[in-house]
Each structure stands twice: as structure tokens, then as C-alpha cells.
Amino acid sequence: MAPKLPPQLPPQNRVEQAGDASGTAGHADAGYHHGPKGLLRWLLTTNHKEIGTLYLIFSLSMFFIGGIFALVVRAELFQPGLQLVQPEFFNQMTTMHGLIMVFGAVMPGFVGLANWMIPLQIGAPDMALPRLNNFSFWLLPVAFTLLLSTLLMPGGGPNFGWTFYAPLSTTYSPPSTTFFILSLHMAGISSILGAINIIATILNLRAPGMRMMDMPLFVWTWLITAFLLIAVMPVLAGVITMMLLDINFGTSFFNAAGGGDPVMFQHIFWFFGHPEVYIMILPAFGIVSAIIPTFARKRLFGYASMVYATSSIAILSFLVWAHHMFAVGLPLVAELFFMYTTMLIAVPTGVKVFNWIATLFQGSISFETPMLFALAFVVLFSIGGFSGLMLAIAPADFQYHDTYFVVAHFHYVLVPGAVFAIMAAVYYWLPKWTGHYPNERLGRWHFWTSVVGVNLTFFPMHFSGLAGMPRRIPDYALQFADFNMASSIGALLFGTSQLLFVLMIIKCVRGGEKAPAKAWDGAVDLEWTVPSPAPLHTFETPPRFQHQEH
């Protein structure tokens, strides 16, 4: 588990703290840690670690629910022809799979990690606004119960794709759409408040002596992500409010008969939607930037350029939205503008990939499970990045648009991208959370089955897409049969292998090899200065952070 000490350990960040490092002893505050027991403890908790755990459990549950929906889709597509479900239900499954995975699994997963780790990484006692934190979390179960319940309503649940384009989602939508809108409003409030909390925490609660450019990259990427969330979640709220009015009050926002424009929906949606996809990947960059240096036992190459690259990606994310709409009939100047800005994003992203590889160069690398996931992230996310570049070419996109090539692209950046990063983070920080190392053998099994499953699922989609297979269709022409069968087998493998993930987590919570405070010998950030498992309250008196050159 802990390989022999390598020759070139990076310098450690040091903290000096009066009393013991955990800060568990010697505080006599108003008994806030003697809160209620049982269910109420979780309902009322304001502790960042408990709320982080709640977020992560919620995210994992949604990951399985969304995964089951995906398996329904893949089962239907196993063979050409209609086998298992009706097209109406198939549409609800594709839609709900997307909505649940984006808003219920990936986003709350990263927020859970932020809750757990940001205070620990900056030496803060908790989030800046702990009650708001509790509110942000408990909105989610309410919102997603409502969202899932739309499946049982008359006319079925949302069936217009996770991007809910008007007029499919307005004029031709099932009655439950109003409930879908309201549930999304609640999830949006949760995101905005959570992001405000994260920004306030990072800007205000850093340990004395920790400057902005001393922050771990996970903190940096989350700071920028939180900014994106606050900037675009209100835009999503705005566009679904217009949908609500079109559906229920007869307005004409997305209705050309009244002078509105369905394409306007796409513009506003993607003004939210493109920053949204970076919201789902920037924290992953931060995680990988923590894990790769740890297991390469070197400092991160190009810390400052990582910060600037992340900021550049965030700024560019506001200028590229219409590359999702090349085929909708944009003016030529818009096609060109959005094509070039989209290609520009490859520059800062390339800087990041370069830095990760340069970090590995001449490192003393060991391949524990978190590192395996992080390395797979670099390789497979890059594949998703390259297919993104192909899609950025407007004339080529006319061919790829709405085919399985697009599905392959965004699943490569989201599954072996965002989801693998979350899993890497779980393996990396589980010793800190539970005090035990995750079972390495189980971890390796989980990793390799997931990697094989992911690639078997999504790689063939490039080919079926290039050959012209449209997305969101329950039946298809015979020439796509082999690719689809491979994808479906891969999906089943990937889905099943996630049970190993759950098994690993349960085992790790219940026992396993004891982890010391500094669980990985190449790790440098502040969270490794508190005991494992991290006590409920840490850094109750501010630690003194000593600056190290990056």
C-alpha cells in the first residue's frame, strides 16, 4: 500500500497549530457537536463532512437510478426492432437518464467532494455558511423525488431529451412538464446557494498565510466552477420560467406564431448549457491535479499555468454556446465565430494535459487505484476532447449533428472524464473519510472492468454515429446492429461493475487496513495533516499555513 520512499519527495506544506492538529480537544463552544442522534442528526446537520457524505450518498443513488434508465435504453437497442419498451417510454428513459446523471449524479457528486475537502484543504473549520449548506443539500431529495415522480404521472414524464428543446418541451410536451420545471427550479436554487457558499468559503476562510496561489488546484477549480454556477444557473431558471409561461399562460417566447422563436430557446439553454459542461469537468481537473503529483511523487508541473488555463476555459465557455446549434440555421458569421472560439478551448485544455504528462515525466510512479482512475481520465478524456474538436468544425458538424458520434463524444468526457474523476477522488480520499485504505484488489477489479466496459460501450458509438445513426431513436437500420450489440454488452458490464464500487465503499467504511494521517506518501495538501478518519471538527483554531514554492 505504501511503497518505499522515493528519492524526490516534494516539499510538504506545513501547518503549525496550537494544541493538537485535529483541534478536537479543548473547545467549549455551545454544544453544537452534541446535536440530535439518528435521522434528525442528518436532517439538521450543519457539519461540512456530514453534508458532504449526504451529497455523495445522494449522488451515488442517483448514479444507479440514472444507470438503470441507461440500461433500459441499451437493452432496447441491443437489437434492431422494438423489443422491450414503447417508443414513448424509450424517450422518457433517454431524457430522465440525462437529467438524473447531469443534475443528480455528477453535479452533487462534485459538490459533495467540495463540501468534504475544501474546508480541509484550506484549513477552515467548516463551510462559511453552514445552515445554507444544509438547505442546499435537502432541496435535492425533494427536487429529485418530484422529478422522478413525473414518470408516474398521466402522459408520462419528460420525453423531449435532457436539453428539452422547445417546442417539443412546450407545445407538444406531456402535462408533467410543469412539475419537471418546478423540480429543476429547486435543483437550481440548491446549486446557486451551494456555489455561493463555496465561493464565500474559499475567499474568506483560508488559513492565515495561505494566498490564492497557494491553494490546491481542487480548490481553485471549484472556485471557478462556483463562479460558473452562479453565472449560469439563473439563466437556466430564466429559460425554464419562459417555458412555464409558454405552457401555462399562453405567452409566445418560443412560438413563432406570436413573434417568438423556438431557436431562442436553444440559445438561452446553451448559454447555460455550455458553461454547465465545464461545471461538470473543471472540478475533475482539480482532482486529477491532486492525484497525479501524489502518485508520481513530484510537484505538479506548471501550477500557475493550470490556474490560468482553468480561468481561460471558464471565460471561453461563455463564448461558444452556439456550437451546439450549427445545424439549426445560424447566420454564417455566427457559424464561423462559434467554430473558432470552440477550437480555442483546445489551447488551455492542451496546457492541462501537457502539465499532467510533464508531472509524470521522471516521476516515481506507483499505480494505486486512485492513480489508475486518474491516468485513465487523462487518456480517455483526451479522446473525448479530440472528438469535440472534430465536432467543432462547423461544416463537419452538419454530418455529425444529432448522431451517435455526439453521444460518444459527450459520454467520453462525462463518464471516463467526470465520473472517473469522482471515483478517483473517492479512492483517493476514502482513507481520510473512513480511516481505512480501500481494498486495493477490489479497486483494481472495479477499475479494469469499468475501463473495458466504458470503452466497449462508447467507442463503437463513434462508428455508428459517423455512419449516420441518429440519437434518441428506439429502432435503427440493420447495418448498425453489431455496433449496438457491442455497446449494449459494454453498458451491462460497466453498470454491473459499479456494484464492485459499492462493495468497496461498504468494506472500506466497515474496516480495512488502517490509514495514517498522511495516507499517501506523496501527498502534500493540508487535509493530510489531520488524523484519519478526519474528526468531525477540524481546524477549529486557524492553522498557520507556510507557503511553499510550487
Binding site: F135, V142, M186, S252, A256, G258, H267, G329
Partner: protein, 285 residues
């Protein structure tokens, strides 16, 4: 930043708040989709307001007990600042929709631009703004539009004046003239109330005399979307200021430490700035 951190105790209001909001949202949906549930919706809304009241009451009490340190104060400032930024982006979406419709969507329906295919839908359509004659005959546009130089101008004067009176109240608070603060704050809240009354009159006239309705095509849609959400924010801001007035009268706030008041003032100025945008782009041009 020395010494220890303040971490607030647990509270039941956040969890109850999400429950109340859930009840309100579900019953709102029931009302809109099935036409039943208005009573539950009202109760849910009342519950949301009650939770907000009780939650903020606890915060005020803790603040009055001197539990909050300078760091907590900064957290509140960052929190309020970024919250207002999120509101800015909310309105940005609506202004964006207005500009898109005016600059692109409506002219395109009339055949402008290189593509021009949208003109094939309604060949007789002529673009104009305000859009009095929507493309389809099934939708009847407004007969007349609100003149900016009557009620909207009055409302502009109300809101701009109220920002001035609020600033005077704030300066007086910083100097310790509490009575002056109270009086100018009363004036501010009254101006906010006047604004809402005038907007009520304007809405009545729009609906009953001008034919500007939610159903009157894109002009009515953007008109009510922008002015309606702005009016809702004026209402929230006025209630917040009224609460600050009560707190001033109860002797809360010191010359140095009165962030509750400042936050309400920030919000009010934000609402004022949005109105300037509305006045220019919805009414004048």
C-alpha cells in the same frame, strides 16, 4: 483572522424550509396542471415565508448577542454580493431574450438576413417593434403601447428618488442620527409602495385599455416577463427594507456594524438599476 472561528449551531429551519418549498412547488404544479391545490399552495407559500422569518430571526438574535466576528461578517458580504450577481444573471437572461427577439427573431420572420426562410411561414407578416401584429392571425397583438413619459416616468422618478433617500438614511445611520435614519427609511419604503401601486395601475390599463396581455404575442410576453419579475423584486426589496425599518426602530444596528441594513440597501440599488434598464429598453426604445 486570529483566535478561533465562529461556527453557528444547528437549526431546524433549513430542513423545514426545503420541505415547505417542496410543498409549495408541488401544489403550484397541481394548481397549474390540474386546477386544484390553490389552498395548499397558499399554505406552502406561507410556510416558506414563516421559515424565512424564523431563520432570519435566529440570525438577527445571534448577531445581537455579539456571536459573529469580523470573519462571519465578511462571509455574509460575499454571500449577499454573489447572490445579487446571480439575480443579475437571471435578469440578463430576460434582457437577452428581449434583444434576441427585437434584433433577430422578428426581423427574420419578415425575411431579413441571408437565410430568410422564416419569411415563408407568414408571407404577409411585417416586422415592427413594438410588435402590434404577430405573424399568426390566431394571436391578436396589443392595440396600443404604454407611453414611457407617463406612468413609467413617474415610476422612474419614484425609484431613483428612493435610492437617494435610502442613501441618506444609510449615511445618517453611520453618523448615529437614528431618527433621521428612521424617517428617510420610511420615505424609501413608501416610495417603493408607490411604485408598486403605479405599476398595478399600469398593468390594469395595459390589460383593459391597451390589449397588452400575456397572450398578445411576443411584445406582451417580454413586457410582462421583465416588468413582472422586476415588480416581484421590488416587492421583496420593499419588504426587506420594511424589516430593516422595524429593526432600526427597535434599536438594532450600530454606527459601524449594520450589515443587514447594507445588504437590503445593496439589493434595493440593484433593483433600481434593473429598472433603469427596463425603462430604456422596454419603454423608451
Amino acid at each position: 483572522m486570529s483566535g478561533s472561528y465562529y461556527v453557528p449551531p444547528q437549526s431546524k429551519w433549513p430542513a423545514l424550509g426545503s420541505l415547505a418549498l417542496g410543498v409549495m412547488m408541488v401544489s403550484l404544479g397541481m394548481q397549474l396542471v390540474h386546477g386544484t391545490g390553490g389552498l395548499v399552495m397558499t399554505l406552502g407559500m406561507a410556510a416558506v415565508l414563516a421559515v424565512m422569518w424564523l431563520w432570519f430571526r435566529d440570525v438577527v438574535r445571534e448577531s445581537r448577542q455579539g456571536l459573529y466576528d469580523a470573519q462571519m461578517d465578511r462571509s455574509f458580504r460575499w454571500g449577499m454580493g454573489w447572490f445579487i450577481f446571480s439575480e443579475v444573471m437571471f435578469f440578463a437572461a430576460f434582457f437577452g431574450a428581449l434583444f434576441y427577439v427585437r434584433v433577430f427573431a422578428v426581423p427574420w420572420l419578415d425575411g431579413e438576413g441571408a437565410k430568410g426562410v422564416a419569411a415563408l411561414l407568414w408571407p404577409d407578416f411585417t416586422a415592427s417593434w413594438p410588435l402590434m401584429n404577430p405573424p399568426s392571425d390566431a394571436i391578436s397583438g396589443p392595440r396600443e403601447v404604454v407611453s414611457p413619459w407617463q406612468l413609467p416616468l413617474v415610476n422612474t422618478i419614484f425609484l431613483v428618488t428612493s435610492s437617494v433617500t435610502l442613501t441618506i438614511a444609510h449615511e445618517a445611520l453611520k453618523e448615529g442620527y437614528r431618527k433621521t435614519t428612521r424617517n428617510w427609511l420610511i420615505g424609501t419604503v413608501l416610495l417603493g409602495g408607490c411604485f408598486l401601486v403605479v405599476q398595478g395601475i399600469e398593468y390594469y390599463e395595459a390589460y383593459h385599455h391597451y390589449g397588452i396581455t400575456l397572450q398578445a404575442g411576443i411584445y406582451g410576453s417580454t413586457f410582462f416577463l421583465l416588468t413582472g419579475f422586476h415588480g416581484a423584486h421590488v416587492t421583496i426589496g420593499a419588504i426587506t427594507l420594511a424589516v430593516m425599518l422595524m429593526r432600526v426602530m427597535q434599536g438594532h444596528f450600530s454606527r459601524e456594524d449594520h450589515f443587514g441594513f447594507e445588504a437590503a440597501a445593496w439589493y434595493w440599488h440593484f433593483v433600481d438599476v434593473v429598472w433603469i434598464g427596463l425603462f430604456i429598453f422596454v419603454y423608451v426604445f
